[in-house]
């Protein structure tokens, strides 16, 4: 699924974000990515959704070499990747419903096919009352929940989340984590970058720690779903998704 082999990333201005990162994330694994601000977490995620290319080494994502991939292939692969952005990346002129449906709209999926998924995802993140609202009228936490729903609505193969619980209260944070756990159970690969040590501790999921551009595996192998990850979707969401 994801394989880093001595991957380095240096920005054009000279700053080094990643040094000789070697790492394999198996399909269906769930990992946390931790590290201080500026440690390179977002850069690593950007490599994974092809917003950046490694400056050295080899990176394989969903079977494609990120250094040699062509632009038309990038669009195809991004449809298999759901990204939760720290700055939300919502379109202000679209409604909540349209923002969540966007990955399916651009993939030319007919509305009849995705409508129930979008509505259910919005229900899960408790935004059912705001489906016709537009992002400028939402709070930071609500925007983050829209971004999360958008990232997961197509049940992508790979889910990348950059501080997904940064703007939400603990109760919603737990609910969102349960959503990630359900994706993990559906054999989706999940990588969550976060500062929230409490979240990481409660989840029991394996942790990759990034410091000075170097990855340190702290715990676990991310393979089997953690038996006590601390979050559950007890209203049957996961069962329906299966």
């Amino acid at each position: 699924m994801i394989h880093f082999s001595n991957v380095g990333l240096r920005y054009p201005q000279g700053a080094v974000a990643l040094r000789n990162v070697s790492l394999t994330l198996e399909p269906g694994s769930l990992y946390f990515l931790t590290g201080k601000s500026g440690a390179g977490k977002s850069s690593l995620l950007k490599l994974l959704y092809f917003a950046l290319k490694p400056t050295s080494g080899d990176l394989t994502v969903l079977g494609e070499n990120a250094r040699r991939i062509k632009s038309d292939k990038v669009a195809q692969l991004r449809r298999r990747i759901g990204v939760v952005f720290q700055d939300f990346q919502l379109l202000d002129h679209l409604t909540v419903y349209e923002n969540v449906a966007l990955p399916l709209i651009v993939a030319n999926v007919r509305e009849a096919q995705y409508r129930s998924n979008v509505l259910e995802m919005l229900e899960w993140v408790k935004l059912s009352e705001k489906i016709n609202d537009k992002p400028p009228f939402l709070s930071g936490g609500e925007k983050q929940r829209v971004g999360i729903a958008r990232a997961m609505v197509s049940v992508p193969d790979l889910i990348l989340a950059d501080e997904p619980t940064g703007s939400v209260d603990p109760e919603m944070g737990a609910r969102i984590m349960a959503l990630f756990a359900e994706m993990h159970r559906l054999q989706r690969t999940v990588l969550i970058a976060t500062h929230d040590t409490e979240l990481v501790r409660r989840s029991g999921a394996p942790v990759l720690h990034l410091a000075d551009g170097v990855i340190h595996r702290v715990s676990g192998d991310g393979g089997a779903p953690p038996p006590a990850h601390g979050f559950s979707a007890d209203d049957g969401f996961g069962r329906r998704m299966r």
Partner: protein, 311 residues
């Protein structure tokens, strides 16, 4: 969807009607109005160019048909008596290829000379030649050589003036007018294409964030191109259609230049082409918005693809 959700969904809100047909681009009033106005102006000019080209065509066709089929026989002053005139008419009538022969009377001759001699000038005391109007069969030129030969054999001294020579001079002029009009049309089309391309590039720059988000969620360049192209295609269609409609209305209200009564001197009117649309002309005018939409499509597509490739 790889994992369909088939359980009933409990939601209190419903997506609004507009939400379902999600517009992928926000409304951008400034560029919308700019493109609309420029397309209107271009459509207006295009309609005038088409009218000029069609008018030049009509004029050339009318003049050549009319002049080509006619000749004038001029009896010099020495031969201007009525008897010679009647004999000449008879001789000419018998020539093959002649449809009609008509002596031009004094009043008609006075009308022809009025621009030079004035309206009230008495012509009877002037030594004017007598003129005979000859029309050939089937709109073809009368047999000039044969008429001249027969008149000569009948002992009538006369000059036979074939109008074909004027036609030969008029035809290139009409072709030039037509070429100028179509040239103007090409320039207008090129300007419209450039305007749309520039507007598209500006639109992409202004909406760079939207393009980025679309790409991040998996939109292909062709999808992004399509939504931009569709917008400018529609604006070009509407704008040029409106502009062309205004131009046509103006031509109709002014009576067309050929009508002349409103905008031009009445005496010049018959010499000017009639620019008022008629018959099949409407189809050519109707093609203006469609052509502009096609031009906008090509220009926008090229511009968007080039811009996206650079990103």
């Amino acid at each position: 969807m790889r994992a369909p959700i088939d359980a009933p969904v409990r939601v209190s809100g419903r997506p609004s009607g507009r939400a379902r047909g999600a517009p992928a681009l926000p409304r951008d009033w400034l560029s919308t109005w700019l493109v609309l106005l420029v397309a209107s102006a271009m459509g207006f000019l295009a309609a005038l160019s088409v009218a000029a080209a069609l008018g030049a065509d009509t004029l050339a066709r009318g003049l050549t048909q009319d002049l080509k089929s006619r000749a004038t026989v001029v009896l010099p002053v020495a031969e201007r008596d009525e008897e010679t005139l009647s004999r000449a008419v008879e001789v000419i009538s018998q020539a093959p290829g002649v449809r009609s022969v008509r002596p031009i009377g004094g009043a008609e001759q006075a009308d022809l000379l009025a621009p030079w001699l004035g309206e009230d000038r008495e012509l009877s005391d002037l030594p004017l030649p007598r003129l005979i109007d000859v029309v050939g069969v089937s709109d073809r030129s009368p047999p000039i050589a044969e008429i001249a030969r027969r008149l000569s054999e009948a002992g009538i001294e006369a000059d036979v003036d074939a109008h074909g020579a004027y036609v030969e001079r008029l035809e290139p002029a009409a072709r030039q007018i037509r070429a100028f009009a179509y040239g103007a049309l090409m320039i207008v089309a090129a300007a419209a294409g450039l305007t749309v391309a520039l507007a598209c590039t500006a639109g992409l720059t202004a909406q760079a964030r939207i393009v980025d988000v679309l790409k991040l969620v998996g939109a292909q360049d062709s999808y992004i191109s399509r939504i931009f192209v569709r917008r400018y295609q529609w604006l070009a269609f509407l704008g040029s259609g409106g502009g062309a409609a205004v131009a046509i209305l103006a031509l109709i209200l002014s009576g067309g230049a050929g009508g002349g009564q409103v905008v031009l001197n009445e005496e010049l009117a018959p010499l000017l082409p009639n620019l008022r649309p008629q018959g099949d002309d409407w189809l050519r005018f109707a093609a203006i918005p469609a052509s502009f939409a096609i031009i906008a499509t090509v220009a926008a597509r090229l511009s968007v693809r080039r811009t996206l490739r650079r990103r």
